[in-house]
Symmetry: D2
Subunit: 496 residues, 4 copies
C-alpha cells in the first residue's frame, strides 16, 4: 500500500496502475467480442437472406467490425451464389436493395469482432469459394491454435491464401478431403480431425447446411426451426427474434447435416472432455440466450448471489454497471436483501463510431457514455457490481463518478474471477503484463480503482453458474489451458 | 365490449383498434421528440465547438433527425462565424476534422426531432444569419402558435423566408426590434412580446450569449458553468457530461444575458402563470436530468408509486418496458412490495437506420428490438409498466410476447394519463381520431392490447410528480390548453 | 533581361516570375468560371426537372462547384416547390431518384463556379424562398457591384441574410417591390433599377417564368422552345442538347415574361450602352454556343487569324493547347498556311477531384493532364496557341514539355490581350500584383515561360471577334470599367 | 436494299438494323476496354504507391470499372504487403490518406474494365496472396482460353477459388510450380507453359518484380526507368506521365526479372509466331503511346491516309468523331487535300456515372455527349471519320446530327475493317448476331446509318498501320483466330 501512496503523486505511472493515475490514463482496452454465425435452409424454397439479416441483428453484440451474408439456390447449378459483405454493423452493410437481390434458399451469415491488425475487408466472412463440387460458403466462430502449422503444410503442397482468417484453412481442408470422401459432411469431419482449438462452424454446400462444434465445445451453436426451415445460430436469442423454435444445442464434437430429408447427426468425434467458455455466460452472450441448457441471465443472477455470499458487505443499495452488470447486481440484491437500484443512465447513442475530438480535462469517454443518478446514491453506501475488470481504468472512473455524486462508500463486486491469462480460443484479451490482476493483490487493485472494498467471484464456485457442470474452460482466470496454446507465435511471419 | 369481440374475427379493423387486429397492424406511430439546444461562451477564448458537440451528444434523445453547431469568435469582426449542419445523428454529422475547423469561443448547437413533412436540410438549426449588427446564431426548442400570422405580417412588409421553421420568424423579429432598441437582449424581449407558444431559445450575438424561456415555461432550459465558461442547455444531463456545474434553471419568462461581465437577468416578462410540459418528466427528458428543481428519475419513481396505490393488483413480479418504463416499474415495486425484475432484453443496435426488409409473418420490429427473459416471467403474474400508450400496437405485441413466454397474467400500468388531445407546443402526437383513448374506455383498450387489467396514472395526481407544483401543462390528457391553439391551420398554405 | 538571368539562380522568386522559377512554382491559379442558369416552363404540365438536368449538364463548364434545381407546379397552391441542391457536379448531385421526386412544370436550375471563401452549401443556388405572393425560385449569373450597399440598406430596415450570394439581395428587392406593384415582372424591373453590375436572372414565380439581363448585357441569356415548353438558358448549346429550338437572345436590359399566353417583353430599361463580356467568346462559353448572334467557335477562329496577321512567324506546325486553344490554332493555321496539327493528348479522367499525393520532382499536374505526341513536334518549329496566360506557370511547363519532346522552337500565341486588371463582373481573376502582364513586358514574359517568341491578340482588334460590335467589355485587359467598381471592399465586414 | 426501304416504316425492326430504326433503338453497346497494368520497383527504397497511382491514371482509358494497388517492402519480412482496391475510377478509389499508408518499395497496380457479369468487388485486381515463399501480388491484362480447364484440374487436386478471374488460376500455377523450381521467375515460366491465350503479367514477389507477355504478344507491356527505379507498364504514355524514360517493350514470350542487380531476361518461350492485337492501335491505346516500336497516333494517321486512297470522295471538309476518330480524320485530310475541321463539341463532364433519367423523345445520350458546330458543316459535303462501327446506333445518330445541322452530304469512313467476329483475347464485343457487319453488306449498313457513302479500312492493308509487320491478330475482322477459342463455354457452370 505504501508504495502506491507514493505513486499517487507521480504524474505518470504506467507501471504500477495505482488509482491516482488510472483516472488520467488512456481508455480501457475493450474486451474483445468474438463472432457470431447464423445459417438457414428453407426446404420450401423461400429466400433466406432477410431472415439471416434479422438473425445477425440479434447476434450483433458478438461482433461489430464487419458482417456478411452468402446465399445460393439449392435448385440452381452447383456454382450459384450471391453474397454481400462489408465493414460495419449489420444495418450499415445491408439494405432492402442488396438483401432483395440475394436470391437463395440456403445461406450463412456472420458478424465479426474488431481487433487492430486484421480489420480489413479481405477478412470479412462468410468465406465463399468454388471447389470441385460447386460453391461452398463458410462462417466460423472461434480460434484455431494450429492454423499456422496447417497453413504452412498447405502452402507446401501449393496452396495460396488470400486472407488471414482461419476459415480459409478450414475451407482448404474440406475441399481436399472432399476429393477422398463421398459426402461434404464427411469432408468436414476429416477436416475437424486436423484442426485444433475453438470453432463453431456453419457451412452451406450446394445442397446441404452443415453445423459443427469443436469437441471441447468452446463456442456455442444451436438449432432452430420455423415452418419448413431450419436454422443454425450461435445463440438462441436470434431464434427468438425470427420467431423460430429452439430445437436443441449442437453438442461439442457433433456434426449436424440438414437436408430436405431432415437432420442427421454424426457424433463420432464427440468426447466427454468439454471446455465450454465460461465467459460466454458472464459477458459475451445475450442474457436472453440459453447455452447448453443454461439461461445466461440466470447464470448471472447466480454469480451475483455467490458474490453476496462470499463477499458480503453492509450497504444501502446495490447497483449494476450497465448493461452486463445489472443481472449480477440483481442477484446480489436478492441474496443480500440490500435493495436493488438503478444508479446509471447510459447514453444509447454512443456507438461504434463515437468520435473523440480534443477533450478538455473534464470530458472523458466514460462521462459521455454514463451518468450517475445523484439522488439514488447520495449519502449511500453503494455496492457496484460489474462483470469484469481488465485494466481498471473504466472501473476507477466509475467509482469516482459515484463518489462525486455523493456515495459515501463504494464496494465493488466483480461477477468473474480476476483476469490473469490470455485466451487462445477466440477472446481478444491483453497479455498478462497488461492485466493488473496478474501482478497485484486484490487489495492493491481496490486501491487503484478507489474502491472501499473489492470482491471477485471465487474461481472454485464458477461451475455453479452452469449448474455444476465441470466441463468448462477457465483458462483466462486459472492459466489451465484445455488445449496447448500455439508453441510459437508465427503470426508475424504469416500475417498480412 | 361485445362489438369488439366480434371485431376480433375481422381481418381488418383500422377503426375500432381491437386487440385481435393490433397485432397485425402497421408499426406504432412514434411519439415525437422535440428538440435540444446547447449554447456556450468561453470567457477565456478557448474554442467551444467540441464541448458543444459533447453537450449535444447528451441531448441526442431530444432529436435524431438533424443537428448543427455554429460558432464565432467574440474577438473577431462582427460578421464571423462557421457552422456545420446536417441530417443525422451527432456522431454522423460531426467528426474531428469539421469540429477542429470551427473556431470560436461562443456558439450554439441544436438537435432536431423528426417529423414527416419538414425533414429537409433547409430546416436544420441553428439558424445563422447576418443582420445590421453582425452575425446571429439561433437555436430554438418548442413550437409557436402564432408563427403563421407573424410570417404573414412580416411578408406584408417585404420579408422573404427560406425555411419553414419558427426560428426564422423569431430571427426576423429580433433583427427588426434591434433597430429600435439599444441591446440585442432587449430586441429578444421585444420579439418575445410578439411570439406566442412554447420556446426555449439560445442566441449567440457577436459578443453575447442569450438564453430565454417562454413565460409559460413549456420547455426546459438551464445554466451551467465550467472554469471560465458558461453554458445553456435544454437539460442538466448535458452539463454533467461536459463536467460543468449546474447553476440554476432559466425561469419561465426570463432572459439571461451572458457576457464577460457575468450573467444578467431580465425578469420583466415573467408571470406566475406557468405551463411546464409534464411529459418532459414522464417521457422526454433523460432520467439523470433535473428540470426546475425536480429529478426526472424521482418523478418517474413517484408515478410508479401512485400507480401502485391507485391500481393495485396481486402479482408476482413488476417489470418495466425499457428504457423509459423501468423507473416507474421500480416505483410500483417499492410501493407494492411486489419484487422488481428485468423481463426484457433490448437490442441496442437497433437504431434510427434500422431497415425492415420484407418480413415474414413471424418477424416484427418489436421482436427485433425486444426479447423476453422467459425464466423470469414463466408461470408468473406480471405487472408490466410503460410510460404511455399511443395507438396500442406496440403494447399489444409486448403483452403477447410476455404471454407467449409463459406469463399467466399481464397487468399493464401506464405512468401517464390516457393520451387524448394533440399538442401544439412541440410534441408530435397523432390527432384525436388516431388516439384510441379518445374514443374508447380503459376496459376496451385493455381488451385491445390483450391485458388482463390496465391502469393509467390519474390526471388529478399528476402534480405529485413535480412536488405539488400546479404550474404544468396537461393539455394532451385534458384538452385544457394554456394558450389558444392556432385558430386556422394555415400550414398548407405556407409550408414548403 | 539581365536581371532575370540572375534570378534564374535564386531558389525563390515569387516576385519577378522569371522562367527558371515558374517551373517549380505552385500550380497555376485557375481562371474562374462564372455560373450557368437554365429555366423552363412546360405549358402542357409535364415535369421539367429532368430536362433542366440535361440543360445544366451542357452548362457544366460554367461552374463545377455546386448545382441545384427547384421546380413547382403552376396548378398547385402558391407555396409549393421542391428542390435539390448540393456541392459537386450535376451528375454527382442528381440521380434518377431525386429527379423523379421533383414534381413541377416550371423550374430553374443553376451551376455555380468555385472560389475559395464561399464554397459552402448555404450559397448553393437556386435560391428558393417564400414571400407574400408564394414561392419564388431565383438563379443568377453575374456579380453586382453594389450588393454590399444594398445589403446594408436592407439590414437597416430589418432584413436578415442567410447566405452571402447576391441572389438573396435581389430576392429581397423583388419581394419588397412586389408589395407596391401589381406584377412580379414589374417588381423585377424595380429591383433592376436598384442593382448595378452584371446579372442574368431566371426567376420562377408561382405562375410565370421570367428572364432578365442587365442593361450592359455582361452575361448571356437566350430563349428556346420545344413542343409546348419554353426555356431560358445561359448558352444556346444547352438548347441543342435538349432538342429545343433557339428562338433568340434576351437583349441587354430586357425582361421577358413567359406564361401560357406567350412571351411578353419589357424593354424599358434597355439602353445602347452595352458591355458584353468578350471573355465569354475567348474562353468561358462552349464553342458550339451562339451568343448575341455570334458563333463562339467562329470568333475563336477569327482570333487565330488575327494572331497570324499581327504576329506571324516562320514555323512548321500550329498546335492548340486543348481544349480551348484548338479553335484559335485552327484559325492561325488557316490564315498563315502553316499546317495544323495535334500535339497534345489530354487525360480526360483528370477531373475536379484529382488528388495530388506527394509528388516526386518528376510528376507535375500538367504532365498528368497533358502529354506531347513526340513524333508530331520532334525537330519542328512549333506555334503553340492558347487562350490566355494568367500567371504563366502552366505555359512554362507546356513549353518545356514541347522542347523536351524535341521541338526546335516554340512560338506562343495567345488569343486574348494581356490580362492586367481584376474583373468585378463575375470572373474570378487574381489581383494585378499577381498578374505578370501588369508589370512585365511581353519580352520578359516570353523569357519567363521559355518561349522563343510570344504574341498576344491586339486590344484594338478585339471587336473583330464579334463582327465589329463595339458594345463589349474589355476591362480586364484595358482597365476601362463600364461601371464603377465597388468603392470600398467591405466584403471582409459582411462576408460570413 | 428494297426490303430495308420498307422497313423504314416499321415501328420496330431489331432484326434488320435499318437506318430508320437505329435512331430509336437502345444505346450502342460499348466496345469493351481491356485492362491496364503498372508495376514498379524502387531500388533506393522509396515508396512506390503514389507513382503507381499516377501511372494508373494514365492507363485509366484501359479500364474504368475498378482498380487497385498492392505494395510491399523488399527489406521487410517475406509476408508484408498492403493494398487498396475498389470499384470505380483511380481518383475515386485512392486518396492522399490511403496512398500515404501504403508503404513499400515494390508494387503493382491494375485498372479493370467493366463487363456486366463479373463487375464485383471480389474480382478487383491486383490479386494479393500468400504462398510458401511469402506474399505475391499479381496484375494481369488479357484473357486465357483454357482458364476453365485449368480451374477444373486444380480443383481436382484440392484447390479452392474465391474469384472468377484468370489471375487466380495463374497465381495457383505459379505457387505450385514454385515448389519444384528454385526461382519465382522459373515458376512463372512453368505456369506460362500451361496457360493459353492473351496475357501481359506483372508480378511482385518479396524481392523481385517480374513482367511477362504471352508468346503471341496480344497485349502490350513495356519497361521504363527513372532514377533508381524500374517500371513495367501496359503503355508507354504512363511512363511519360511519371517522368520515366522508356527503355524497351517486353517482347512476346519474354519474361523480365527486375532486381537490384538489374534486369534479366528469359527468352526461352519466345517464338516468331506473333499475334499482336491490331485494335490496340486503332482504338484501345492512347495515341501518345508507342507499342512495339510503333506510334499509336501515327498508325491512326496512316489508317486515315489509306481510307483516302481506297475510299476517296469529293467533299468540302473532313471531320473526326472525337476523340478516337480525330487522328484518322487528319490522315484522311492530309492524303486527300480536303480541309480538316472540327465539327463536334464533346461534353467532357459526361463520365462513367452519367445517369439517364426518363428522357423525352428529344433527349438522347449522344446529344448530351456531342453537339455539332453548325457553321462548320452547314451546306458542306462532310467526310466523317470514326474508328469503328459496332451496332450502328451511335453512327446513325451522329450522321443525323450532321444532317440536321445542315450538312448536304455525309460520307462515313471507318478506320478499321468491318467488325464480324467475337474476340476471345480480352476485348468485350457482342456476338456475331449482334454485329450488323456480319450479315449485311456495306451498302446496307450505309443505308442503316443514313450515310451517303460508307468505306471501311481494307483488311489486307491493316499491316501498313504497323509498318508492314505481319505478326498481328485480326480475328475480330477475319475470324482467323491465332489460338483456338475455348471449345465449350463452361462459364455458366463455373462462374459465380
Amino acid at each position: 500500500m505504501s508504495e502506491h501512496t507514493k505513486c499517487n503523486k507521480q504524474t505518470s505511472c504506467e507501471k504500477c496502475h495505482c488509482s491516482g493515475c488510472l483516472l488520467h490514463q488512456a481508455e480501457e482496452p475493450k474486451l474483445g467480442e468474438e463472432c457470431g454465425v447464423f445459417g438457414m435452409y428453407d426446404m420450401e424454397g423461400r429466400d433466406v437472406a432477410s431472415t439471416i439479416y434479422y438473425g445477425l441483428f440479434s447476434l450483433q453484440h458478438r461482433g461489430q467490425e464487419s458482417c456478411g451474408i452468402a446465399v445460393s439456390r439449392t435448385d440452381g447449378p452447383p456454382r450459384n451464389s450471391s453474397s454481400v459483405k462489408g465493414m460495419g454493423l449489420v444495418n450499415e452493410v445491408f439494405n432492402a436493395e442488396n438483401l432483395g437481390k440475394m436470391k437463395g434458399d440456403i445461406g450463412v451469415g456472420h458478424v465479426r469482432y474488431s481487433t487492430a491488425g486484421a480489420s480489413i475487408a479481405e477478412n470479412t466472412q462468410p468465406l465463399v469459394l468454388n471447389y470441385i463440387k460447386g460453391t461452398l460458403s463458410l462462417a466460423h466462430n472461434g480460434n484455431l491454435v494450429n492454423a499456422l502449422e496447417l497453413r504452412r503444410e498447405l502452402e507446401l503442397s501449393g496452396a495460396i491464401f488470400q486472407t488471414s482468417i482461419d476459415s480459409e484453412v478450414i475451407a482448404y481442408l474440406i475441399a481436399r478431403e472432399r476429393l477422398k470422401v463421398g459426402k461434404v459432411e464427411e469432408a468436414v469431419k476429416e477436416a475437424m480431425k486436423k484442426i485444433k482449438g475453438a470453432y463453431s462452424l456453419v457451412v452451406a454446400s450446394p445442397r446441404k447446411l452443415i453445423g459443427a462444434r469443436d469437441p471441447f465445445g468452446f463456442r456455442p451453436l444451436c438449432i432452430g426451426k420455423r415452418d419448413g426451415a431450419y436454422m443454425l445460430s450461435s445463440e438462441s436469442c436470434a431464434l427468438d427474434t425470427v420467431g423460430a423454435e429452439f430445437i436443441r444445442d449442437v453438442e461439442p464434437g457433433e456434426i449436424v447435416t440438414i437436408t430436405p430429408e431432415g437432420i442427421t447427426s454424426d457424433k463420432s468425434l464427440m468426447t466427454q472432455n468439454h471446455a465450454k467458455c465460461i465467459f460466454e455466460y458472464i459477458y459475451f452472450a445475450r442474457p436472453d440466450s440459453y447455452i447448453d441448457g443454461i439461461s445466461v441471465h440466470s447464470s448471472r443472477i447466480i454469480a451475483g448471489r455467490i458474490l453476496a455470499q462470499t463477499h458480503p458487505v453492509d450497504a444501502d443499495i446495490v447497483v449494476g454497471v450497465p448493461e452486463s452488470g445489472n443481472a449480477a447486481a440483481m442477484g446480489f440484491a436478492l441474496e443480500s436483501g440490500i435493495p436493488y437500484g438503478t444508479a446509471f443512465v447510459k447514453n444509447s447513442y454512443v456507438g461504434r463510431t463515437f468520435i473523440k475530438p480534443k477533450q478538455s480535462a473534464r470530458e472523458s469517454s466514460v462521462m459521455v457514455k454514463l451518468n450517475v443518478l445523484r439522488e439514488i446514491v447520495r449519502g449511500k453506501r453503494v455496492v457496484m457490481v460489474d462483470d469484469s475488470i481488465v485494466r481498471g481504468t473504466t472501473s476507477a472512473r466509475i467509482v469516482k463518478m459515484l463518489k462525486d455524486a455523493g456515495a459515501s462508500e463504494v464496494h465493488v463486486r466483480i461477477s468473474s474471477p480476476p483476469f490473469k491469462y490470455p485466451c487462445y480460443f477466440g477472446t481478444d484479451v491483453p497479455s498478462s503484463d497488461q492485466l493488473p490482476a496478474f501482478s497485484h493483490t486484490v487489495e492493491q487493485i481496490a486501491e487503484m480503482i478507489g474502491a472501499d472494498s473489492l470482491g471477485y467471484l471465487d474461481l472454485n464456485r464458477l461451475s455453479e453458474l452452469i449448474d455444476g457442470d465441470q466441463g468448462y474452460c477457465n483458462a483466462c482466470f486459472s492459466g489451465n489451458y484445455p488445449v496447448d496454446p500455439p508453441q510459437e507465435d508465427i503470426r508475424g511471419d504469416y500475417d498480412k
